[in-house]
């Protein structure tokens, strides 16, 4: 187990390095001068030249890369080249709890919707309720999250005034302020994923329900609830957990649209704004953070397999 984990961690580092390197060079191939955007109305050639030297943008690409990589190895992600030149690590540290909070709540929302929906759909296969759940799942899947977010804002914030329309409050400001600001974005972000997970639960359950041990359990006179929850469902969870792991990773990285709609400054928005401003250090840092999350979540999923199914041995 330890050896496996070490190998996976090493693999993760290689993946993160490859992604970051690719992004480093691709960013510089993309047209657009970061200093043009930064200076805009100042447009002072002397200031531009000074800044180009200061940020090392006047140096050959391999030199820029070597310097950047050496600093990353020391844990220094550099400073933003836009505005106050804030350390990238500070930007990421401030944004990460917002994205993490949103992702966790969205994940909870999606699981709370998906598992009952998937179970009902599987157990009532072919019946109207199955068709209804399937229809709703496709609706959720095909509904753009930004549109759902706006609808939620209009209904629950603007019309009913139940929840705040925008913004984020840290948990340190109280549980309800934190939760109230995240309910709508979590529903907007989690709905599509709930549809995906519900479909996975349904198909996985249908497969398990056909197995001999489930039939035997039913023949032994166990209650349907015990058959489903004690025998079928735990065994149907393996592929579901894989999907849930991917979903959580995606939620962390792909919540950008929802973050934008609800004015929450998370990792996704940092990445997008960094790209728009050609703020190289920020984009590189954010990509590293996102790739780390993906790799870590996948590793966690692998470990979870063992915990859920004793038949699986990682070695």
């Amino acid at each position: 187990m330890t050896g496996y984990l070490l190998r996976r961690c090493l693999g993760a580092v290689v993946v993160m390095w490859a992604v970051a390197t690719l992004v480093f060079f691709m960013l510089r191939i993309v047209p657009g001068d970061p200093l043009s955007a930064m200076l805009f109305d100042a447009a002072d050639p002397a200031a531009a030249d000074e800044l180009r030297i200061k940020f090392g943008l006047d140096q050959p690409l391999p030199v820029q890369y070597a310097k950047w990589f050496w600093l990353v190895l020391q844990g220094d992600l550099g400073n933003s080249i836009y505005g106050s030149r804030i350390p990238v690590s500070q930007i990421l540290i401030e944004a990460a709890p917002r994205t993490f909070s949103l992702a966790v709540l969205a994940f909870v929302v999606s699981v709370l919707i998906a598992i009952p929906a998937g179970l009902i759909s599987a157990l009532k296969r072919g019946q109207p309720i199955d068709h209804g759940v399937t229809f709703i799942a496709f609706l959720g899947l095909s509904m753009p999250d930004f549109w759902l977010g706006i609808l939620l804002i209009i209904l629950f914030a603007a019309s009913l005034g139940w929840l705040p329309a925008i913004g984020y409050e840290p948990l340190s400001n109280g549980f309800w302020p934190w939760l109230s600001h995240l309910i709508l974005p979590a529903i907007a972000a989690g709905t599509a994923f709930s549809a995906i997970i519900a479909r996975m639960v349904r198909s996985s359950m249908l497969e398990v329900l056909k197995t001999d041990y489930v039939r035997v359990a039913a023949a032994r006179g166990l209650t349907p609830w015990r058959v489903v929850m004690g025998y079928a469902f735990p065994n149907a969870l393996i592929p579901v957990i894989t999907v849930m792991g991917i979903a959580f990773g995606l939620l962390m990285a792909a919540a950008v649209v929802v973050e934008t709609v609800f004015a929450i400054k998370g990792l996704g928005r940092i990445l997008i704004e960094g790209i728009l401003n050609r703020d190289y250090p920020v984009v590189q840092g954010a990509i590293l953070a996102v790739s780390f999350i993906f790799v870590f979540v996948n590793l966690l999923v692998d470990v979870l397999y063992v915990a859920i199914d004793p038949r699986i041995r990682i070695e």
Binding site: D33, P34, S36, S84, G161, V261
Partner: protein
């Protein structure tokens, strides 16, 4: 400050009528509308002067006449927390004036930091940290008496040394992106603990309104030496320390910035509010929902999306105030690309009008029905533009240009010009690409449709992110480019920055061997712009400004589109006084909340 009238109704009406008549009692031909230089200068402008200026600019309403009333007559008290939403922005990466490059950022810094001067709603300079000043006969020596007893938010006293420190910091391109603004300043001298003298290399009309101004000026917005030393430039950018009415108490990057009342502000009457929380909101729809739901009280930042303004106006919980914004928007035509090529703009206009390249430029400019464009692209808000000088500048704005400029809309004349250039009905005309940002796509689609409909030419949209667009604009790598300017409070902003041969927005990064000039070059315009810049006499300056503006319009330095409207949206409980309604800014020191 918002006392209700206590007079009997009949007397109150008569009083309003008298004020109305008094405000309009001036000769329209008089550039100073019956006001003396004394009325217009000095650290304070009287209410009578304000009403006269509003009347002269045609925006005076009965509401302005109410005693002590601002833009809207809400009853309000001091104190409270104002929640503001800043439109179309994701974060406030800096409010260090040395690094600010957007209007939406100096809207905030203007509430936190002070300058020696600050513009008023008529875009004239008033004393801020300067009590008064004198100018010598050569127009190059400005001596300022500074306000005494002023402290920074960290408790440090404000002295002449802070002015000198700010000057030295802003002159250093390594520390400030605005060093160019101080290029005309030869030096600064300390004459006492609260007295300084600036020496200019040449007279500069915009010195008070631009260089020393606290908001759009930025180069001489006074920063705190002590805070910079203790915080470092990076942290200072997030939580700038100044002498302004509000101090930054919290800044969660990308989430919100909290400003709190500065108890030791030099004016004990200001600020009124206890606290302001500013949230950046990128998308227009959540922004609209936030103000409709009461989550925010006021919208600042980038211009409100034009499609939302009608909706806001129809909402009884909201106030919408619209004034001309200080800026212009247009379509730049690359003079080095066929079929719009013009190699020498210095020729007389009649001679230019015989050149096919110029005919095409003029045909495009004349074919755009600005009123229709504003209706379709801006939902009816804005002023047709024919030059870079905007109506917010009031005194300098030439409102006859729309009728007399060569660019005045005339579809038949445009068709004839195009036919004379060899493209009858647009036949054989190459498809041109128009460079625009994603945010300006609708504008570009409207332009495309107008040009197709009026003169039969095809335009293809070329949408690029802003940094890419800016790069291609400055390297002159485009056919047409939809761009413009904001925060233009002085004629220098429209002229020096855009239409001189050496202007910073005139193909600065072009290949100078292939393109000897950028977008436009005319020695006569260069001379006029240089002279207006150095002319202190406002009437003489206006003549020069308007002449330069007319030539650039006639010679199609660009196809001008519109001057944007500054739409301010607040909830009813916000009282935003007229004294603070400075186009393009959101000064909240006089703002109060009711309820």
């Amino acid at each position: 400050m918002t006392d209700s009238p206590r007079l009997p109704r009949s007397k109150f009406r008569a009083s309003l009528r008298d004020r109305w008549n008094e405000a309009h009692d001036f000769d329209p031909a008089d550039p100073l509308v019956g006001l003396s230089r004394h009325d217009l200068s000095g650290p304070v402008i009287e209410r009578r002067t304000v009403l006269r200026l509003l009347a002269a600019s045609g925006v005076l309403t009965a509401a302005h006449l109410l005693p002590g009333v601002g833009v809207r007559p809400a009853r309000a008290a001091a104190g409270g927390t104002l929640r503001a939403g800043w439109a179309a922005v994701g974060e406030f990466r800096t409010i260090d004036p040395a690094q600010i490059n957007q209007v939406l950022l100096f809207q905030i810094s203007s509430n936190v930091l002070s300058g020696l001067t600050h513009i008023n709603p008529q875009l004239q300079a008033e004393g801020d940290l300067a009590v008064d000043w004198t100018v010598d006969d050569t127009g190059t020596q400005y001596t300022f008496n500074l306000r005494e007893g002023v402290t920074f938010h960290n408790g440090d006293p404000f002295t002449a040394d802070d002015v000198i420190f700010t000057y030295e910091r802003s002159s250093d391109p390594d520390q400030s992106i605005h060093s160019r603004v101080l290029a005309n300043v030869a030096g600064i001298e300390k004459l006492g603990s609260h007295k300084v003298r600036f020496s200019l290399k040449a007279p500069q009309a915009s010195f008070l309104v631009k260089t020393l101004e606290r908001s759009s000026g930025r180069a001489m917005t006074i920063v705190s030496r002590g805070a910079l030393a203790s915080m470092g430039a990076s942290d200072y950018g997030l939580r700038a320390v100044g002498t302004g009415p509000f101090r930054v108490t919290d800044h969660k990057l990308g989430q919100s910035m909290t400003l709190e009342r500065f108890e030791n502000y030099y004016d004990p009457e200001r600020p009124k509010l206890d606290k302001i929380v500013i949230t950046p909101i990128i998308d227009p729809e959540p922004l609209a929902a936030a103000i409709e739901a009461g989550d925010i009280h006021i919208i600042g930042g980038n211009p409100v999306a034009p499609e939302l303004v009608d909706r806001f106006e129809a909402n009884p919980d909201l106030n919408v105030s619209t004034v001309p914004a200080p800026g212009f928007q247009g379509v730049f035509l690359n003079p080095w690309r066929d079929p719009m090529q013009v190699s020498d703009f210095s020729k007389p206009i009649e001679e230019l009008k015989r050149e096919p390249g110029f005919m095409v430029r003029l045909a495009i400019a004349k074919a755009i029905d600005r009123d229709l464009y504003i209706r379709q692209a801006q939902f009816g808000r804005g002023t047709p533009a024919y030059g870079t000088i905007n109506p917010a500048m009031g005194f300098y704005f030439d409102d006859t240009l729309g009728e007399t400029s060569e660019q005045a809309f005339d579809m038949e004349a445009a068709r004839k010009l195009l036919a004379d250039a060899g493209f009858p009905n647009g036949d054989g005309f190459p498809t041109l690409k128009i460079l625009c940002t994603p945010a300006a796509r609708r504008d570009c689609l409207v332009i495309k449709n107008l040009l197709k409909k009026s003169i039969g030419i095809d335009i293809e949209l070329d949408t690029k992110d802003f940094p890419v667009l800016l790069d291609e604009f400055q390297t002159m790598n485009f056919d047409l480019c939809r761009l413009g300017s904001g925060g233009d409070f002085d004629p220098d902003d429209g002229l020096v920055d855009w239409v001189q041969t050496e202007s910073k927005f005139n193909g600065r990064k072009r290949n100078k061997d292939e393109m000897p000039f950028g977008l436009f070059s005319d020695p006569e315009v260069d001379d006029l712009v240089a002279r207006q810049s150095a002319t202190a006499d406002v009437e003489a300056r206006r003549t020069l400004v308007q002449k330069a503006n007319r030539i650039t319009s006639d010679k199609v330095a660009q196809a001008f589109l519109f001057h944007p409207a500054d739409v301010q949206v607040t909830r009813k409980e916000v009282d935003f006084p007229v004294k603070s309604r400075i186009p393009g800014l959101v000064d909240m020191d006089r703002v109060t909340l009711s309820g």
